[in-house]
């Protein structure tokens, strides 16, 4: 569904994405992991067209996204930090999002109710706490039944109850054959939510396989341990090479 070919992105001298090639298929859920500043958000923003790659091609649903925008209809995006117009009320924001998508009737308001956002529709965005903003972001990402869901650190900053609500929602969407890309630092969450793993380090893809394979390779039961074992193994090999 999403196809990246030799994508490079430089910010001045900094090479944020280094020859990234990826094929992401429907029905799978990808965990995007890597240290801070490894290029996860840049990768996500490139797919969304918010960041324009220095070179390389990205196609979504077999269509090159360069100077296209219609494909974003098919993507539900939950940003890491949601920036919203300060003066807008939650209700207005939701209405606006529906409005620019031609007032579609078939919307999924499950999260709006689950997070009790429908009771605070008249609150202005700048009065909201970080967690509540996060809930708004999540509700908006799932609103339009998008076949591709991109969630950038979805559970960071949410209270435990809300985390569970969101996770249940993600799992139920995963069951519908959608493509999910989840970036997170919380391995236990990813263990539950994803099928495949993409490990990004300094803009390069270091590992891309199913979680089951990774666990088998490293002989670990939990994803967190398996990943740590993999990274240590690699670091060891690097020191040997040097």
């Amino acid at each position: 569904m999403i196809d990246l070919r030799n994508v490079n992105k430089r910010f001045g001298k900094l090479q944020v994405l280094d020859n990234v090639s990826l094929k992401l298929d429907a029905g799978k859920s990808y965990a995007l992991i890597g240290p801070n500043g490894s290029g996860k958000t840049t990768l996500i923003k490139s797919i969304l067209g918010m960041v324009i790659p220095t070179s390389g091609e990205i196609s979504v649903l077999k269509e090159n996204i360069r100077s296209h925008w219609k494909y974003r209809e098919k993507i539900g995006y939950m940003p890491q930090i949601g920036h919203y117009p300060d003066n807008m009320r939650i209700g207005q924001l939701i209405d606006m999002m529906k409005n620019i998508r031609n007032n579609v009737q078939d919307v999924d308001e499950e999260l709006i109710h689950a997070f009790n956002l429908n009771k605070i529709l008249d609150k202005r965005m700048h009065t909201l706490s970080g967690g509540t903003r996060q809930k708004v972001s999540a509700a908006l990402a799932f609103l339009f039944h998008a076949p591709i869901l991109i969630l950038d650190e979805p559970t960071a900053g949410l209270d435990p109850v809300s985390v569970e609500i969101l996770k249940t929602k993600i799992l139920s969407e995963k069951g519908k054959g959608k493509l999910l890309i989840i970036s997170s630092h919380i391995m236990s969450d990813l263990d539950e939510l994803s099928t495949d793993i993409i490990y990004l380090f300094e803009g390069k893809i270091h590992y891309h396989d199913t979680i089951a394979n990774l666990k088998e390779e490293t002989q670990e039961v939990r994803l967190g341990k398996a990943m740590a074992a993999y990274i240590n193994q690699n670091a060891f090999q690097h020191t040997l090479q040097e």
Binding site: M50, V51, S67, R72, H83, P85, D86, M88, I100
Partner: protein, 255 residues
């Protein structure tokens, strides 16, 4: 596009700055007409306000607004909306609100107190100047990510076109005063929208006779239909060119 313009306009109106600006222009204009009964002189005084205040307010307000709507732009970019549509919506809504403020603040009293060809030119060139400086502000805003830097650039634009350029022009005229400079000065004036607007207005007032031979030459050139078309065309270029460059940069910008 109309939907997005609606949301941006709603946001602009909420800040109440446009309302204050309208009120300021209204009070100034009405006060001028109360102080003097000679509409020619009033138009002259208003011209000075138009040439100084309008570019400054347009350029600073637009830049601040652009940076304040960064969140909105970011939000829109993740939605199925064309980048160009977002950009042009921002331009049209800012330009529209500033033009309406000017039309109500200065236009309304002018229509009531003294409507004549010279005041019509005043209104026309004021509107054109607003559009020119909104364009320049958009150009400055997309050039840098830093709000303070962008406001610095916009102020530089304003100083340059309102003060520095005139100084340079004067220097050229004095230094080469032994040569025939009429055609050269007309060319040089075309490079400054504020001067262009000023000359358009001055020639509609009856004082151009005071400006000697050059004034007569200008009157001959700018006073004709061709001259008006020329200056309007150049002002249009001043609107379209910076906007076009800004749009090119914006459609390739990382957000």
């Amino acid at each position: 596009m109309v939907r997005i313009i609606k949301y941006i306009l709603y946001d602009i109106l909420r800040t109440r700055f446009i309302l204050l600006y309208t009120l300021f222009l209204l009070v100034c204009t009405v006060a001028m007409y109360q102080l003097d009964t000679d509409t020619g002189k009033v138009t002259m005084s208003l011209m000075n306000i138009v040439l100084m205040v309008i570019p400054l307010v347009s350029i600073v307000f637009t830049t601040i607004h652009f940076y304040n709507s960064y969140e909105f732009i970011e939000l829109m970019l993740a939605q199925p909306v064309n980048r160009k549509v977002i950009f042009l919506s921002e331009y049209f809504s800012t330009a529209l609100s500033l033009c309406v403020a000017y039309a109500v603040g200065t236009g309304l009293p002018v229509l009531i107190y003294g409507f004549n060809p010279s005041s019509l030119t005043l209104l026309y060139s004021g509107l054109m100047l607003t559009l020119v400086f909104v364009s320049l502000a958009f150009l400055a805003s997309v050039l840098t990510r830093d709000k303070a830097k962008a406001i610095g650039i916009t102020l530089l634009f304003w100083f340059y076109f309102s003060l520095i350029y005139d100084g340079l022009l004067l220097w050229v005229v004095y230094t080469f005063s032994d040569y025939p400079l009429e055609k050269l000065t007309i060319t040089l004036i075309a490079f400054n929208p504020v001067d262009l607007a000023r000359i358009m207005m001055l020639l509609k007032l009856d004082i151009s006779a005071l400006m000697g031979y050059t004034g007569a030459f200008y009157q001959n050139f700018f006073g004709s239909f061709l001259g008006t078309a020329f200056s309007s065309g150049i002002l249009m270029l001043w609107i379209i060119l910076p906007l076009f460059i800004a749009m090119r940069i914006f459609s390739k910008k990382d957000l």
